[in-house]
């Protein structure tokens, strides 16, 4: 298993290199630069700006220097838009915020998703099942800014329970976590229900039932673990999705995570920040997928990590 892990990590390095290279040149192929504005300075000043940020060298040379600094010094350069910060500073200030929000959203998704899936699976094809699964379909279909809007209407303006925006207290996290987590809860519910229904038809479950166990006990003690497999494999992409999909929720609730940099750094032609975000997300998604594969083999000994 260690050998396989090392092999996977080597692949990760290759993927990272490829992503950095392609992104670096793609970003610079955009027709606009970081210092274009509606009040553009005269050409002499544009020249000074490009020189100050080492953007006046040929692109291939910039690439070489960037790679060298990024790999050997872990230096992702200064942000070209937020000029008081380095990219590393921005990401390290924003990442804990995004991860906290993402973790809370994941907890919301798991609690709601697993409960709903279990309830639906206990009475398949009953009205409860139909209701839960319809709600889940709706949850997948609704974009999270709509969910956020509805939550704000109800829990901020109607019942004044939570702050409308900002970051700082646990109260600030409640609505954004739900808005971000609900669509994933819906997917989890569907996957868990399907997994349970399949497992519940197996022989060892019949045995458990014949011992007189209640439906809930059957699910919790005997069926859940196996039925979790599809959920676990979904958690990797889901976590990545929650982290990168947080840009809308972060914007609506004015949360100072890194989600919005994902899109805005491209619009701002903030080359360095855009590269930083891409590198970070590539790394996170690859590592999360690896973690899921490891968990998979731990949950089900029949599956080997390869």
């Amino acid at each position: 298993m260690i050998g396989t892990l090392l092999q996977r990590l080597a692949w990760l390095a290759v993927v990272m290199f490829g992503v950095i290279t392609v992104s670096f040149f793609l970003i610079r192929a955009a027709p606009y630069g970081p210092f274009d504005s509606d009040h553009p300075p005269p050409p002499a000043i544009q020249k000074n700006l490009l020189a100050a940020y080492d953007l006046d060298a040929p692109v291939i040379e910039q690439y070489g220097r960037y790679l060298k600094r990024a790999v050997f010094d872990f230096d992702l350069g200064p942000s070209l838009k937020y000029r008081d910060y380095t990219v590393t500073e921005i990401l390290s200030e924003g990442l804990p915020v995004s991860v906290t929000l993402g973790a809370c959203a994941l907890v919301v998704a798991l609690i709601i998703g697993l409960s709903a899936g279990a309830i639906a699976a206990m009475r398949p094809r009953s009205w409860i099942d139909t209701a839960v699964m319809s709600a889940a379909t709706l949850g997948i279909a609704l974009p999270n800014f709509v969910i956020a809007g509805v939550l704000i209407l109800i829990f901020v303006f109607h019942w004044q329970l939570f702050p409308v925006a900002g970051y700082g207290t646990l109260g600030h996290l409640v609505l954004p976590s739900i808005a971000l987590g609900l669509p994933f809860a819906a997917s989890i519910a569907r996957l868990f229900r399907a997994g349970l229904l399949e497992t519940l038809s197996e022989d060892h479950i019949r045995t458990a039932r014949s011992k007189g166990l209640s439906p809930l006990a059957v699910i919790v003690r005997h069926a859940a673990r196996q039925a979790m497999l599809p959920v676990v494999s979904f958690l990797g992409p889901a976590t990545a999705g929650i982290l990168s999909g947080s840009l809308v929720v972060e914007r609506v609730f004015a949360i100072s995570g890194i989600g919005s940099h994902f899109v805005e750094s491209a619009f701002n032609a903030d080359y360095n920040l855009a590269m930083g975000v891409i590198i970070l997300y590539t790394f996170l998604v690859s590592v999360l997928n690896l973690v899921v594969d490891v968990m998979y083999s731990l949950l089900d000994p029949r599956i080997e990590l390869s």
Partner: protein, 532 residues
Amino acid sequence: MARDLRGWAAAAVVAVLAALVIASHQGTQWERADFAFCNQQEISSLDPAIATGVPEGRILRAVFEGLTRRHPETLEALPGIATSWTTSDDGLVYTFTLRDDSLWTNGDPVTAHDFEYSFLRLLTPTTAAAYAYLGWIIAGGRELTEAQANPPPLGVVATSAHELVITLAQPAPYLPRLLSYYPFMPVHRGCLEEHGSTWVKADRIVTNGPFKIVERRVRDRIRLAKFEGYWGADEVALETIDAFAADGITTQLNMFLTGQVDWMIRPPPNLFEELRDRPEMRTSVQAGVTFLRFNTSREPFGDPRVRRALALSLDREGLARDVMRGGETASRSFVPEGFAGYVPAELAARDVERARALLAEAGYPGGEGLPMFELLYPHNQITRDFCQAVADQWRTQLGIRIKLVNETWKVYLDSQKQGLYDASWSAWIADYLDPSTFLDLFTSTSANNRTKWASAEYDTTIERAGAEPDPARRDALYRQAEELLLEALPIAPIYQRVSSNLVGSHVRGFHDNLLDIHPLRDIAVERTEPVR
């Protein structure tokens, strides 16, 4: 084994989550500030020489003070760090007397040497200051920024700790007002030399304005507190201020409606009708204009008759009243109303018959034979509605076919710059109150011209106006230039812009003005009930 592992894994996940939540909430508990506002976005920099943009100005005016500052209502130059100034007869030499009771936040006195150092820094090429060109009115400024060989000495000299002499390259009667603009704010040399590029960090920065930086969290907020050592501290009412970086327009409105902030800039235009009657809603004319650019290097815009026909046929009042709906006023001038002493030139009133005749004269009777052209605009709902309405008017009045093209902001700017457009939505907002900020745009060498229109007569008129020391004659020359511009019409002015703000009714000292500038120094709050 698997069962043990599962328990352990669950516990670990819960522990990590709990630790994360707790860790991320350490030290981020904030008391509600006396005054809070949405500053629209994370600012680009706290360095007055590096920063560009409007949200930056709101913060920099609060934490730094230049030789002058602005009257919150009239925008006239008030004494700042300078108590008084005199001008030489030729309008080229300004002598500023500095107050002796102003301090930096580290306790050092603010002196004329600080300004000498800061102006030199602004203009030095390696500083890479985007607004350095504003300092090119100072003798030797341009040569310095352009790194010319053997530049003349820079016309900024501290003759003593409290006297600064500025020599200009050309007369600039607006200099005292210009010097209140943030690129001309002083920086603390010792702080810069000690910390290098990291001097702007909240725990290092040394400032000299009415407020100081307490904390800054990227994309979250900047917390300011009153600086007791500020010379005018007695006049400053607010103890703490929060400037939120929230950029979502609905988010900002929600924050205002729930009392989380006391001031919101530019509420959503689509809610204007609902917000208009609220006592907190304030709209005011702004020194800005929305206009159309024509690319005169492309047919049919090379023909001035076509440009005139397009400009004359538009119902500006209708566009302002029915499409914009935010209190904008139709304008047939390029320079907005409200600049002291300057009377803008005007394009002839709307005349559809004349427009049709001009178009026929140009060889396109009833719009026939006129190739379909593109109207470019930056992607957002307001500009889209506006351009659709303009295209409709042209279509119905002149029989012209128009294709609307939208691009994201930076791509749109680039297309304009490269001349990759036929006609284009455009807007310009004054940096300072002087007709030159508008009319300098269309000289043949200006990077902001972007219409490919060049007129030697226009260039000389602008040049003469710039060199004219007598204010009345200067205004007359600028007016002459505007008349030339409106005769040739590489652009068609449409309406004068408005600023809109939602300001809590407990806020005092907030005045509407042409530049939409509201110094935090002059703001106070009077609450009858505690905030939520």
